[in-house]
């Protein structure tokens, strides 16, 4: 039986990176995600797997180290929290523009500005809709448990390399700080240099005489060339939308009402669903696991069946826009959220449900 250990979500990211043969981590301390780098530094993977771990001078530098490492074909990652992700957005846009694979963990805290260090989901728009400049998308995975944190590192790199695209693990202060039982999956060794080159024949890591030089860039000054590239990116995003939607449902089979919630909120919504079911309300829950690609078709199909939906988020209402677009007026879509690091309880969500549906 696989070993199960108790880990914080942030620690699970670090342990998973080492066990999945990741080549490099570059980061900068910020609450509530500092345990990622602290755990890596304590484990010293450079002595075992050869993984490089470096504390950079800023998030700006970390993300550009990720760019350099990714451009040389390596599996490289970083992690930060909301203000740090803002600083990284320039680099993320360049990574997307140069079509480089990498994994970025955002352990969200409340904002705007320096905000709070308490949990939040208010980077949804920043991470899912862009953040940096230009037409681009990140593939976004929303973990709800320490096990997800562990598993999404490997899944993230799979997707990142399959599509040559940045992947963001959009976590939050709860998932990062909470300890849970984590099953350690079988280890994957780091790839040999031959495997790196075979995975990433485009990597700029020294030109042998057998091929043309590899150039990693996001620059093209000619409008037509850039437009063609934009279309190529869009085709990639369409393919991701078609193939990579991931979601979970809870008690939706006979549901007349639906909660839509991601990350830690989906856990709390699950409890709220149970509470309301005990009171006789036929409630179910949809948890988007990928935020881009968003499970729009599932929401649309559910909108045909349920009387109403509510998007439950730790922000002022961001994912709700996508839920409304997907429901497309077929049913009312409400919103309930908390902000500033406050976290809703299952009772609170149940109350909001009754209020929105005029059950009081």
């Amino acid at each position: 039986m696989a070993e199960k250990i108790l880990l914080k979500g942030n620690e699970a990211i670090a342990i998973s990176a080492i066990r999945n043969g990741i080549d490099g981590y570059f980061g900068y301390p910020i609450t509530p995600q500092s345990e990622v780098m602290e755990t890596l530094m304590k484990e010293r993977p450079w002595l075992t797997t050869g993984m490089v771990v470096l504390q950079a001078e800023s998030e700006t530098s970390s993300i550009n180290m990720v760019y350099g490492g990714a451009a040389s074909g390596k599996k490289v990652m970083t992690s930060s929290s909301s203000p740090g992700i803002s600083l990284m957005c320039e680099g993320i846009s360049y990574l997307a523009g140069a079509e480089l694979p990498c994994v970025i963990v955002d352990c969200q805290r409340g904002g705007p500005g320096l905000g709070t260090i308490q949990p939040s989901q208010s980077d949804y728009n920043q991470v899912v809709k862009g953040g940096g400049h230009g037409d681009y998308r990140n593939i976004v995975l929303a973990p709800a448990s320490a096990q997800d944190m562990y598993d999404f590192v490997d899944l993230g790199f799979d997707l990142a390399f399959r599509y040559r695209n940045p992947v963001v693990i959009l976590a939050d202060g709860i998932v990062g700080q909470m300890m849970e039982k984590v099953e350690l999956r079988p280890e994957k060794p780091r790839r040999s240099q031959e495997e790196v080159i075979s995975d990433a024949p485009w990597a700029a890591v020294g030109k042998p005489s057998s091929r043309e030089r590899n150039i990693i860039t996001s620059l093209s000054l000619e409008a037509d060339v850039q437009e063609k590239f934009n279309h190529k990116l869009q085709e990639k995003y369409d393919l991701i939308q078609e193939k990579e939607v991931r979601y979970e449902t809870y008690r939706v089979e006979d549901a007349e009402y639906l909660f839509v919630a991601f990350g830690c909120s989906s856990r709390i919504c699950e409890a709220a669903t149970d509470l309301l079911r005990e009171e006789g309300y036929k409630v179910g829950m949809l948890r988007p696991v990928t935020l881009f690609p968003f499970p729009a078709k599932v929401v649309s199909d559910m909108a045909d069946k349920v009387r109403s939906m509510m998007s439950i988020e730790l922000n002022l209402g961001q994912m709700v826009d996508d839920v409304r677009l997907a429901a497309n007026g077929k049913c009312p879509v409400g919103f309930y959220g908390r902000q500033g690091g406050n976290i809703f309880t299952p009772d609170e969500i149940a109350e909001a449900f009754k209020k929105f549906n005029n059950f009081e």
């Binding site: 250990i5 909470m178 300890m179 849970e180 409890a271």
Partner: protein, 181 residues
Amino acid sequence: MKEEIIIAGFGGQGVLSMGKILAYCAIMQDMEVTWMPSYGPEMRGGTANVCVIISDRKISSPIVTRYDTAIVLNQQSLDKFEQTVKPGGLLIYDPNGVIHTPTRKDIRICRIDAIEVAARVGNPKVYNMAVMGAFLKMKPVISLDNVDKGLAKCIPARYSDLISLNRRAIDEGMDAVVEIG
């Protein structure tokens, strides 16, 4: 079986690590666990608290507002969490420094003088294990075999002599807990 526990006290009393050890012991019993701390500036010398949920089923919300058990180790924590215990639930407190004792009549209330236990065992660091012993006496949700396994997971092998010391503190805590209402 599902047990929702809040553990609260001063930073330095071993609140977070007690929660972690309790969670590890539950894992050894093949149960599901969540350990959700308060974090941030309040950790620095102020009060610390952690919510531990152990269950034989998958745990949905790690955030709860009413607890089966509150373990409170200073006055502020007692004031804050006494009202959050579910009716019929359990409150364990350390009387040292507590002036306003618990008043509720609809819950079980226990006292553990863990400072005295730790002094008797001879190491102030096992204070939190004495408290954990008190909890396990009142709610034997984890077998002592699995407590041993959990301790072994939490304490690095090079400090293996500390395992027996901690176990002794748990045993003494079990003996020292007093139900007062």
